[in-house]
């Protein structure tokens, strides 16, 4: 089989000592930033982009992949040991996992999360190994009209369909699109929205936007309403480990969680949040211990954690085969590809097989490393939660400054960073999700380019988007994704009122 041969070649790339080292650096950093509040995998990859410009792309992506998977593992540690969840996809883990930890079962909760993440990550990566080349083969024939429509689908599902408020999600998306417009138009050479500043002719670096909205915005927001009482971190005695009974109750939820998570990650459906909720509901229905749910049921940690990680693997399918990111971290990985002059999409498997297969192989390796890092070293990671917040957030700000300043050695960029920080504060205060803005900044220029290519091929006939069958079908789904949630909401409200 082709995929197997390619995968073996990928392992040859990933198993060189230097690349193993980068994988180790990646998973360690990923776990670290996953555990720490205020900084996550999306932000970390963005911060490292200017730094890694000199690395060979394969090594850089092996490290990024480690950060991506590591962030998921680390996030569960925080949600189990600390009483508040970090990312929305670990809300469920916090729900049952924290209850378990409070009952003195922290070790078992951490173990089922880590082993479940490993199982789901590995199965997810296998599915990716076989699905991605198959999809890439079909995707080569997709025309620009349909590519544009696919981006519209990602835009709408990420910002409107699954968020709390579609209107606020769309406003966030359009804000991102505006930022993406700034700079010189590559096709006509005209300056757009540069306000006469020469610094803006090259456009606004998305790294500045990402770090401003995430890191600076978060720091300002947390400072404005800081938790005064000490966050109660649960003490962990010894390693993360499970009893035979825990294994017996965990393995089925792991597999079911994986089955739910992977497809949800692979379709542009807004990331890992939905499958974790679905997995939790499913486990609650199937369990033989319903009385434990809400009080610390191990199934309620095992299933959602597996779903979360399988979704993370699933997200890589549209990213690698179509160049379509469906989460903030995936969007930043896409931008990382573009920094190296690579365009993710079906052709990537033909033009850079070393890179793609080295990356996929490193995911298997990273998963093993993460299991080894997270089971015995759980108490070490738990200690990180005790870092005093003033020193933690001050450090995040300093690293953000280095990351942005080293882009162009420009003070102007730092002023932009402050502006985006204030906007990021406002978005948190006024309930605008940040991810759609990031997707808008990164995918907006690509969307415009497909839009214009399609129209040039049709001589300016706008109906080309609905006459090309695949494009029309995707646009139909786009319309449904906008209308159906609104209708459902209206019906729910009229039923209540």
């Amino acid at each position: 089989m082709d995929a197997i041969t390619s995968l073996f070649a990928g392992f040859e790339t990933a198993l060189t000592p230097i690349n193993l080292l980068w994988a180790l650096v990646g998973v360690t950093l990923g776990t670290l930033v996953g555990v720490l509040p205020g900084i996550g995998p999306a932000l970390t990859v963005a911060l490292l982009l200017p730094v890694t410009a000199k690395l060979p792309p394969v090594s850089a992506f092996i490290m990024f992949a480690g950060i991506y998977y590591g962030g998921m593992f680390g996030g569960s540690t925080t949600s189990i040991l600390l009483n508040t969840p970090g990312e929305s996809s670990s809300i469920i883990t916090a729900l049952e996992g924290n209850k378990m930890a409070r009952k003195g079962r922290a070790a078992a909760a951490l173990a089922t999360a880590a082993i479940g993440s490993f199982v789901a990550g590995t199965i997810g990566t296998m599915l990716l190994t076989f699905a991605a080349p198959a999809i890439a083969e079909i995707a080569v024939q997709i025309r620009p009209e349909a590519k544009f429509s696919l981006i519209m689908l990602a835009f709408v599902t990420i910002s409107a369909t699954f968020g709390g408020s579609p209107l606020r999600g769309l406003i966030s998306l359009f804000f991102g699109l505006c930022i993406g417009l700034v700079g010189t138009d590559l096709q006509s050479g005209q300056a757009r929205f540069t306000l006469g500043r020469p610094e803006l002719l090259d456009g606004i670096e998305f790294v500045t936007v990402v770090i401003g909205l995430f890191a600076i915005g978060e720091t300002l927001y947390v400072a404005s309403r800081l938790r005064k009482d000490k966050a109660s971190v649960i003490k962990l005695e010894g390693n993360a480990h499970m009893t035979r009974e825990d294994w017996r109750r965990s393995w089925k939820p792991w597999l079911r969680g994986t089955a739910l998570g992977f497809p949800f990650g692979a379709i542009p459906a807004g990331g890992a949040e939905i499958p974790t909720f679905l997995s939790y509901t499913l486990e609650k229905r199937l369990t033989k211990h319903p009385e434990e749910f809400g009080k610390g049921a191990i199934e309620g940690v095992a299933g959602p954690e597996a779903a979360n990680n399988a979704a993370a693997a699933g997200v890589l399918v549209p990213l690698l085969t179509l160049g379509l990111p469906t989460s903030a971290t995936a969007a930043i990985l896409l931008a990382a590809f573009q920094q190296y002059g690579l365009q993710p999409g079906p052709l990537l498997f033909v033009t850079s097989p070393d890179l793609v297969w080295g990356l996929i192989a490193s995911l298997y390796i990273g998963n093993v490393m993460l299991l080894a890092l997270n089971l015995p070293l759980a108490p070490v990671w738990a200690k990180l939660l005790l870092i005093p917040r003033p020193f933690l957030y001050a450090g995040i700000l300093v690293f953000s400054t280095v990351g942005v300043y080293s882009l162009n050695n420009s003070v102007f960029d730092l002023v932009l960073l402050a502006i985006f920080g204030v906007i990021g504060y406002g978005m948190r205060r006024f309930d605008f999700p940040v991810t759609p803005a990031i997707i808008g900044v990164i995918l907006g220029p690509t969307a415009e380019s497909f839009f214009r290519t399609a129209l040039q091929q049709s001589n300016g006939d706008y109906s080309t988007f609905v006459r090309q069958p695949l494009s029309a079908f995707i646009l139909f789904i786009v319309a449904l994704s906008l209308i159906v949630p609104a209708v459902l909401k209206a019906r729910r409200q009229s039923a209540v009122g």
Binding site: P37, G38, P50, V51, K54, T78, T84, L167, L170, I171, F174, F175, L177, C178, L181, D185, Q187, S188, Q190, A191, R192, E218, T219, L220, Y221, V222, A223, S224, R225, L226, R227, A231, P388, R389, P390, Y393, A394, G395, L397, V398, T401, V402, N409, V411, V415, A418, G421, V422, Y425, R428, R429, F430, D431, F432, A447, E448, F451, R452, L455, Q456
Partner: protein
């Protein structure tokens, strides 16, 4: 902990709530952004081009979209909708909002930015570090100053020596 929120916010009926001024300002801000984008779109030069799709088309779509979404948001706010502040790991949803710390952080950041080139990277970022720690309520000044300088120094050495980037040395030129 008693509820510190003013009574106007905690009224149960969603439909009868008074209009929230901050929410209204944000909504009008989005409308304004849409209008400014429209003006900006009109200023993009298109003369002497015979391309099928000029550089104005996509910006026009984005501007009109932003404007419409802003109008929708304004209508919602005028009907009493308001945003719920986000939940984060280290925030307390019941804590009274205090804008002094973020203001301080921003001030420290801009001061550090100004000092970055004349006095050097280490001084600039140490100033930033110190202000953030202060704004987050830390008051052990000696410890803060010490950690600030050490973090700034390590970062500088890591990025210049380790990763080969150029950062301004400033007053420490020759020492480092």
């Amino acid at each position: 902990m008693p509820d510190p929120v003013p009574p106007a916010v905690s009224l149960p009926s969603a439909a009868r709530r008074p209009i929230s001024v901050p929410d209204l300002l944000v909504a009008l801000g989005v409308v304004l952004l849409g209008l400014l984008l429209l003006i900006g779109t009109n200023q993009i030069a298109t003369s002497g081009m015979n391309t099928v799709v000029g550089p104005r088309v996509f910006p026009l779509i984005v501007s009109v979209g932003t404007l419409l979404l802003g109008i929708l948001l304004t209508i919602g706010v005028l009907r009493g909708h308001r945003a719920e502040p986000a939940m984060e790991e280290d925030t307390d949803p019941n804590a009274p909002v205090n804008l002094a710390p973020p203001g301080l952080i921003l001030g420290g950041f801009l001061l550090g930015t100004l000092l970055l080139q004349p006095l050097g990277f280490v001084v600039g970022t140490a100033v930033m570090y110190f202000t953030v720690a202060f704004a987050f309520g830390e008051r052990r000044y000696g410890l803060m100053a010490g950690v600030a300088v050490v973090v700034a120094l390590i970062t500088y050495l890591l990025f210049t020596r380790g990763l080969g980037l150029t950062l301004p040395a400033g007053i420490l030129k020759g020492v480092l």
